[in-house]
Symmetry: C2
Subunit: 219 residues, 2 copies
DNA sequence: CGGATTCCATACACTTGTGTACTGAGTTGC
DNA sequence: GCAACTCAGTACACAAGTGTATGGAATCCG
């Protein structure tokens, strides 16, 4: 197992069977994980093949089995990195609230933030979820992320809801609708605007609940 | 290719290498498709292997390649049967409305009817959706079913909505929340009741719209 | 400079899966 | 009865993928 890393990872040009060229920096584990993300985005975790990653990186599997013990470890490390990044982006949003954005609008941007624009990240998200249906460890990872996200949405919805329990229900509704939108929209790529209208409807719904409050809620 | 079938399909006892026993009825294509459904429910379309189906049915692959030309045909026939059944159950619900059920309640039972109780069918549904993200034909199949379902929900929501366009938006919201609930709940099997509360919230929302339009139409 | 270390290439053994050609037992129809 | 058809078993060729053992070039470090 590698212990230290000295240079930044670099994509190497795919020399057919050339020995490591001196100017090429060595591959980092993160480079393998990035390539894994590409394969997963394309075809899910069943498409995660060491052979394909090596070809994509322009090396042979000999490199892989130096950085990783086996295929299973690749899966585990990918899942953990994915979880850590999702949790980190949540923490960032919690620490840096955008004052120019309404509370409700912010919620949607939060739930699946980048994925809305980053198609690859969205596909990875769905692939992880799909994998979690048959892998116990992935299920735990997804549960952690889901719990954190819903918790965060619920915190933002405390003003809107009557009590804490209702805030959690509302948060779950928002989360579920967002996830569902991602899933269904893959079948309906033609009306990309539908998700916008749905967001609008939910905002309207939430706004009607906080009718008593002077809502600075809607932007 | 087979042309006619005389007897009902029967599960045969898994004799190790036994020739076809006379009392065993021949396998129908539907038997293979049912077995395929099991494999898909367990591990998605990537888990659809002829070898495994044959073992499950207690025969060898020789039988499969008589009923089907190849693996691809199995996939196509499975998808088409799946679509036909979904459309048929929709048509049945449209033709036989339950007068004891409220319009709104009926909607949820309609969208993903059996899957709510039939775990296997729900997993197949999600697997088909996942496969549709990388297979063009499956995407078409899913789009057909989605369109029919949303259309149906929208028809039931015409009283509630202001105009036809809004009925479609509301229907999409309901559909998306339901699908999303199925996806997220696989990660949260512990609170099965959450989907119930979400349904309740949406019903409340829809009810508030039909009650009167005094409340806020938020921009 | 010269070993030790890092990183990757190569070759081999093994497994699992597809598709095809051929065979052959049962059944049906005439 | 007997040929023809139905259906499944068997064997072979082929492909793709994993893991391991080993060698070897670069590089680092003292």
């Amino acid at each position: 197992m590698p212990k230290t890393r000295r240079k930044a990872p670099t994509r190497r040009k795919a020399g057919p069977a050339a020995r490591r060229a001196p100017e090429q920096a060595p591959l980092s584990p993160d480079a393998w994980l990035d390539a894994a993300g590409g394969a997963i985005a394309e075809g899910g975790f069943d498409n995660l093949r060491v052979l394909a990653l090596a070809k994509r990186l322009g090396v042979t599997r000999g490199s892989f089995y130096w950085h990783f013990s086996d295929h299973a470890e690749l899966v585990v490390r990918f899942l953990e990195r994915w979880r850590d990044r999702r949790l980190a982006e949540l923490a960032y949003l919690a620490a840096n609230p955008d004052p120019n954005e309404s509370e409700l609008r912010k919620i949607f941007r939060l739930v699946l933030r980048e994925p809305a624009r980053n198609a690859r990240q969205m596909r990875v998200e769905l692939a992880v979820r799909e994998f979690a249906r048959r892998d116990a460890y992935a299920a735990r990872i997804v549960a952690e992320v889901d719990r954190a996200r819903i918790e965060h949405v619920a915190r933002l919805l405390r003003h809107v809801a009557a009590d804490e329990a209702q805030a959690r229900d509302l948060a779950l509704l928002v989360y579920v609708a967002t996830i569902g939108g991602r899933v269904v929209l893959t079948a309906f790529p033609e009306d990309e605007s539908a998700i916008e209208r749905i967001e609008q409807l939910i905002i309207e719904f939430l706004g009607s609940r906080s009718a008593g409050r002077a809502d600075s809620a809607v932007a």
